[in-house]
Amino acid sequence: MWRFALVRTGQLLVTLFLASVAVFLVIEHAPGDPAQVQLGLSATPAEIAVERRKLGLDASVMHRYVVWLGQALHLDLGRSFATGLPVTRTIVTAFGYTLRLDVLAIVLGIALGLPLGIAAALRRGSRLDAGISAFAALGLSVPVFAMGTLLILVFAVHFKVMPAAGAGVPGQSVLSSLRYLVLPAATLAIPFAAVLARYLRVELGEAMEQPYVLTARSLGLRRRTVVVNAWRNAMIPTITVMGIQVGRLLAGAIITETVFSYPGIGYLTVQSIQSLDYPVVEGVLLLGAAVFLLVMFVVDVVIGFASPRMRIEGA
């Protein structure tokens, strides 16, 4: 198992490295000259050339990548073209907001999806199952931006019980900052819960049809014990799916934060791309890949320890 974790760590590092190359190349080939962007349209070619040298744009691609990576590893991603603030600080601030949002969304999603999925699996074919399945299908069918917009329409515009946008002011009370989180978190949590419920329904339902369940019943075990035993089997694949969903929250956050003008990473990403703020774009893309890969890594390792077969025999 430790060997597996080691191999998996190696894979993570290789993929991260390749991802950094990809990010660098994307920015490298993106239209628009950073020097031009920096100086504005009125700059003369001579001024641009000077600026290019200053930005280190005249060196070879390899050289610039190595320099860039070196700086990135020291958490130095340069300064934002738009605000002039260090990219790292901008990203850390935004990430803090996103983290708050995602954690709440995950908690809500699990709290909703887990019981629904289990209930549907254990009452397969019943009306309850049909209802839960319908909810899950609908939760998955409504795009995140539509869900967010509808929630704003109902709770902010119509009932005026929740703020429609932003994250409030710095230094506000926890309660009032939570108010800003509720709608975007719900927007993210509903599809999360829907996927979880649907998946669990299938996995637990399948586990309940395995021969070992028949054996357990033949030995007179209580239904509750039988279900819990089956559930331990169903949890392993479910953890994987939940991990993927957590990784996807970041993507969901891009849209949700745009809908709610919430100052997190997603909002920052869209803003920086629209304003061709390349240092920030580089930063968020790198962070996106790193977080996503890290989540998947953690999931794999957790699975490794949760599944006895993996723990004892390795992959």
Partner: protein, 326 residues
């Protein structure tokens, strides 16, 4: 049934059907069995004969969407026909238990074997967890598993099929049930293990003092280990007799043909095997009259007209064939 033995299973006219009320399809069509203590009664038949379904029906474990009915279903004198599922669950593992065909799939793959023993023993014997551990070791010893402590700490996938089947037998017999349903207990195992496991089952049957229903497709196995044989075809018992009688003087054309084929394959001198033409009908559609008639070399018009009843031809020997009625 030999006189004087106590009856542990008494089932009368057991039927299993599936499907919704409108289009109910009958799968097992009236099986009656009596099993005495320390006796083994075999249900033999080919795939699709309904023998496994009959075994599951005794346990109240038929698949979802099926219904079981019986005039009488007594295990150790307890009537199981009117039991609710929680009540039935308390009977399973205590009065009636089962061993399945594939030991590799029978135990939960993510739980240590010891944990699974503990669950069963605390439930069925009412012992504490620590006592359960000691009991588990004794039980493993009784099924010939050495090194019990290490084994209990392992997961099922770390063990061979033969080992797992021993574990399964230990679990099933933990509460010394009145009746064990053994559904093809050695089919998934290699020949040399078959002999070991069957010997173990026979030995445990004596020690525990239970009756056994042996579900099998293997006439050889049945010849050696059963006291009475019930031959099943298309959801019915077509012939029932004490084992020696069955193998010495079978009456039903299906039993006759099956035995002849098995013996011819086993004897190297046979030039041409007398095979039964065709293949068995689907369980839910046995055709009209005797289900075996289309493959039977003695079949007459009468055979496709009426379903023959099981009738006695000798002491303890019943046959469902119009020919035997004359």
């Amino acid at each position: 049934m030999a006189a004087g033995t106590e009856t542990v299973l008494d089932v009368e006219n057991l039927r299993v059907s599936s499907g919704a009320r409108g289009e109910r399809r009958v799968l097992v069509r009236g099986v009656s069995l009596t099993v005495g203590r320390r006796r083994t009664v075999a249900l033999v038949g080919e795939s699709g004969s309904g023998k496994t379904l009959t075994g599951l029906a005794l346990m109240g474990l038929t698949p979802a969407g099926t219904a079981v009915a019986a005039e009488r279903l007594l295990v150790g004198g307890v009537d199981l026909t009117r039991m609710s599922e929680p009540e039935f669950a308390r009977v399973r593992g205590r009065r009636i238990a089962m061993v399945f065909q594939n030991p590799m799939e029978a135990l939960n793959p993510v739980l240590r074997v010891g944990h699974q023993f503990s669950q069963v023993l605390t439930r069925n014997l009412g012992v504490s967890r620590s006592d359960a551990r000691d009991r588990a070791r004794e039980l493993l010893d009784s099924v010939g598993v050495s090194d019990a402590r290490r084994r209990l700490g392992q997961y099922p996938f770390e063990m061979s099929g033969g080992m797992l089947q021993r574990m399964m037998i230990a679990l099933a017999l933990a509460a010394e049930p009145d009746l064990l349903v053994a559904d093809e207990p050695t089919t998934a195992l290699d020949t040399t293990l078959q002999a070991q496991v069957m010997a173990l089952l026979a030995e445990r049957r004596e020690d525990v003092g239970m009756g056994m229903v042996l579900v099998s497709h293997d006439l050889g196995l049945v010849a050696e280990y059963a006291d009475e044989v019930n031959v099943m075809y298309a959801g019915r018992v077509v012939e029932r007799a004490p084992t020696r009688e069955m193998f010495a003087s079978p009456v039903h054309p299906y039993t006759l043909a099956l035995l002849r084929t098995v013996r011819e394959i086993a004897s190297p001198g046979t030039d041409r095997l007398s095979s039964i033409p065709g293949s068995p009908p689907p369980l839910d559609d046995p055709g009209s009259g005797c289900a075996f008639a289309p493959r039977c070399s003695f079949a007459t018009a009468e055979c496709t007209a009426v379903v023959p009843e099981l009738k006695g031809v000798a002491e303890g020997h019943d046959v469902a064939c119009v020919r035997s009625e004359r």
